[in-house]
Symmetry: C2
Subunit: 291 residues, 2 copies
């Protein structure tokens, strides 16, 4: 049932992105995982709106749960596991359209005392040029995804997201956040997963539609390529999903599909005082109650 939902979520996300960006190329690549199971990678390229992206489904069986999945549950390390999920990362061409990320996953570990399972995931947004309206809309949708499951949920998962998507070596958040959760083993787990998937689409697509025709120049593209470097740093240094995937011998091209096109590292670059680029750092890359 969860698997069927995840496959339909993948299809739905691909369909709404294609509708928003008719020239987008979608390439479906099924693959097998050596220890059992596999996935379907949907690579997005050469759109007018989306420069590069991916919508991945995977369902794998493994003999030993990787370290990256068990930091908080050392007793489960090396136990047999089953993991299924959908991951989405979108890198738009237009620097006024934010990069976004969604993940929903379900993990089952077989212990001597029976199976232990939990849900994890969330969505977060990484703008290059900030719009307060977009940030409010994004977080309202994040809250709406959580509200049916209790008023305490959104503030808790919002804070968790701010803490998780943080580049310690830069003292900098990755973006404006959203929600993040892990180790969720409530009764409502699967319903919540569906709510997260549904509200991700409601959160992101209107922003894409609103900003995709915003005029830009090479200057904004340069800033976007510079900021994309932070995305790479986060994913390769900290992201649990990326490290879990690589450590468990997952399909590298599917895992690293999250990495952006055209990235530029510059030594000690700083935004000009009073610029729109500086505004991103000062007004958006700060933990904030957006609603």
């Amino acid at each position: 049932m969860i698997k069927k939902y995840l496959l339909s979520l993948q299809q739905e996300i691909c369909a709404v992105l294609k509708a928003e960006d008719p020239e987008l190329k979608l390439l479906e690549d099924p693959w097998n995982y050596p220890e059992g199971g596999g996935g379907i990678t949907c690579a997005l390229t050469d759109g007018k709106v989306i420069e590069k992206g991916g919508v991945n489904f995977s369902h794998v069986y493994g003999k030993t749960l990787p370290q990256a999945a068990t930091l908080k549950r050392p007793e489960l390390a090396n136990a047999p596991f089953e993991a299924m999920g959908v991951s989405v990362v979108i890198h738009p061409l237009n620097p006024y359209v934010p990069t976004c990320h969604l993940n929903v996953r379900h993990i089952i570990v077989k212990t001597a005392n029976g199976p232990i399972s939990w849900f994890g995931g969330g969505f977060d947004m990484t703008p290059y040029y900030g719009f307060i309206d977009d940030a409010i809309h994004w977080h309202k949708m994040a809250k709406a995804a959580c509200d049916p499951f209790g008023a305490e949920l959104y503030p808790r998962l919002k804070k968790w997201c701010d803490e998780y998507f943080y580049l310690k070596h830069r003292n900098e958040p990755r973006g404006i956040g959203g929600i993040f959760f892990d180790d969720l083993n409530e009764e409502y787990g699967f319903q919540f997963m569906q709510s997260v998937g549904e509200h991700f689409i409601k959160a992101y697509l209107p922003i894409v539609a609103k900003r995709k025709s915003h005029a830009f120049t090479q200057k904004e593209r340069d800033f976007q390529s510079y900021r994309r470097g932070r995305y790479v740093e986060f994913n390769l240094l900290y992201d649990r999903g990326t490290l879990f995937g690589l450590q468990s011998g997952g399909r590298t091209e599917s895992i690293l599909m999250s990495l952006p096109p055209i990235v530029n590292w510059k030594y000690n670059w700083l935004p000009e005082k009073g610029s729109e680029e500086e505004k991103l750092y000062k007004e958006f890359l700060v933990p904030k109650d957006w609603i």
Copy 2:
């Protein structure tokens, strides 16, 4: 004495690079380390030959040796330490000029039973388009750096380099290797460090001089930007120096100076059969006895 040598090595490398690339801009940035000591970063930008690079000197004191430095010596974890070294990474503009890396370092750990110290480092080369002559020259110089210290040294450090600069998630070496060493506490440690520094210059500069005027088109630049992605993946996922630096709260801009300009990740890209790009994978990115 070691510190004086390292500072002179930094100056010498900057001078020979500037001589080879007169338009190169060198920016010297001194910095302090919070727990004690500091460094001098020499950032290289906007050359005709070197697109981006860095020649870093650092000498820092820390209260607790980071995990990344002590994988093989768990008993030293969290002990007070002193670390000094020079790191060089050069990303040339011309795709026919290889990227190269040098590191020499000396680490002293203060234990209850007195200080323990060792040397580490090495140099390795990462071509985009391979030349057999260059690979042979590079390894001859690597061997020449080792030979005065025993015939067994080069084969051992060559193998170590092949094993270390390896992208497990790609089943791919980073480049054509060179030499790598760590935990070296022989009497000849400091002499060997000097030999490594000297032979790095003799190894790399003739290759730069020979290839820097090779004609290239956007096609070769695209391949270079794609391959640079592997360099980023290695440094952020595996490189002990990078992780040591970030974990010990080092200066991020100096540590990540190793990251290239203009990098491009493409989904599941493969070289055309029979192309020069495929030749790199088949003939150069394979462990080989080059001499």
